[in-house]
């Protein structure tokens, strides 16, 4: 049972607990596979979030474009990546944001692993 194991620092496992919490948020992000849905979201973000029944924490995390908040609200990174797509962010932008680095610093950290 995942949740009784020692936590891995800086890591939230997307287990049943997270999946329950994040269902509405992830369902919305899953819809972004369709270009039409991405456009609808951009056109009226409030209405789109309301349609999927996001709770206040999830709505605020979407508003803030904040990945750590989105994860805390039950978001799964695979679905969140589709939200990031709307914002034109790649996984290095997301990494920089979550680690509090600039993108260049984040990239330099990755490069350093080569040695």
């Amino acid at each position: 049972m995942t949740h009784t194991l020692p936590a891995i620092p800086g890591t939230v496992l997307f287990d049943g607990q997270q999946a329950r919490k994040g269902y509405a948020l992830n369902k919305m992000c899953y819809s972004f596979n369709a270009a039409r849905c991405r456009e609808e979201f951009v056109r009226d973000e409030d209405a789109y979030c309301a349609r999927f029944g996001l709770n206040a924490e999830q709505r605020e995390a979407i508003r803030a474009r904040n990945v750590l908040q989105l994860i805390a609200a039950g978001g799964n990174v695979y679905y969140l990546a589709k939200f990031a797509g709307i914002l034109g962010l790649d996984v290095q932008d997301l990494g920089a944001q979550q680690t509090g680095m600039s993108k260049d610093e984040f990239k330099a950290m990755l490069l350093a692993y080569a040695h």
């Binding site: 799964n76 990174v77 997301l94 692993y113």
Partner: protein, 279 residues
């Protein structure tokens, strides 16, 4: 009976698709990565597979949490890509080998694997990009059978279970009444983590040890729980389950044909191996 000509295990990263679309193969950042695939293409020319069984993990294109399978097997006549949310360039559709799909499904259910069968299935970058790395002209000379392993939602199947799945797929292929030359392709990993304060985590020592283990001690990684694998390889590094299933399908012993390892591609430690069964 069908013959397994070999297996390829490789990383997959959406950025590879953008690099291909922009022709960046000779670019300084990308060259060490793309150069790793030239020997693979040479090997494929002499291995001449007719069918590829692809172990991969869906990233939220074909499956959502309303119906999330642990193991799913494609049984469609054709598989297409879609844009996945960020307008990835699409590749030509893949022809399914439905005979092999159903043979695998029959054998796996018989072996007590509780698979989900998919007669329609979108395949994402984890499927399409490794195929495009193998066959850069994207004129697929092979039919395909996708085998998808859940890495989205915990609990994931254990490394030991994925090993057994690979073994069962290998047995099933070898019992298939066909003279087809079958290749196995596993895509995912190696160490990387996209989410959380630990985003950007990479573990070179572990990756190198894992790659080495596939040749000399292939069940080495099955000693670890999923939790331990995430700790060692990152939340997305756990995609190495695809490598394990691929290796298991190849049988007892393999010969290493080619290996490449490069840090980083995007956030990922990129690995590549080509193996041929010898026993």
């Amino acid at each position: 009976m069908a013959n397994i000509v070999g297996g390829i295990a490789t990383s997959h990263v959406p950025a590879i698709g953008r690099a291909i679309a922009r022709n960046l193969q000779e670019d300084a950042y990308w060259k060490p990565f793309f150069d790793g695939y030239k020997p693979v293409q040479g090997w494929l020319e002499q291995a001449r597979p007719d069918v590829v069984v692809v172990f991969y993990n869906d990233h939220g294109l074909n499956f959502f949490l309303d119906k999330m399978p642990t193991f799913s097997i494609g049984a469609a006549p054709e598989y297409r890509n879609a844009d996945e949310g960020w307008g990835i360039p699409e590749v030509p559709p893949f022809s399914g080998d439905q005979d092999l799909s159903w043979h695998l499904i029959d054998r796996l259910i018989d072996d007590e694997f509780d698979v989900t069968t998919c007669q329609e299935m979108l395949v994402d970058h984890a499927f399409t990009l490794p195929m495009a790395l193998c066959w850069p002209d994207q004129k697929w000379p092979v039919k395909v059978v996708p085998v998808c392993i859940n890495t989205v939602q915990f609990p994931l199947p254990s490394a030991a279970r994925c090993w057994k799945l690979g073994e069962a797929v290998g047995r099933a292929v070898r019992s298939w009444q066909s003279d087809a030359r079958v290749m196995v392709l596993g895509t995912g990993g190696l160490s990387h983590q996209l989410d959380g304060e630990r985003a950007g985590f990479i573990n070179k020592d572990f990756d190198l040890q894992f790659m080495e283990s596939l040749i000399h001690d292939p069940k080495w990684a099955t000693q670890f729980s999923i939790h331990e694998l995430v700790e060692k390889a990152g939340t997305q590094g756990v995609e190495l389950l695809m490598w394990l299933a691929t290796r298991a399908a190849l049988g007892e012993q393999v010969r290493e044909v080619h290996r490449n390892y490069h840090i980083p591609i995007s956030n990922t430690a990129s690995g590549l191996m080509v193996m041929e069964p010898t026993a």
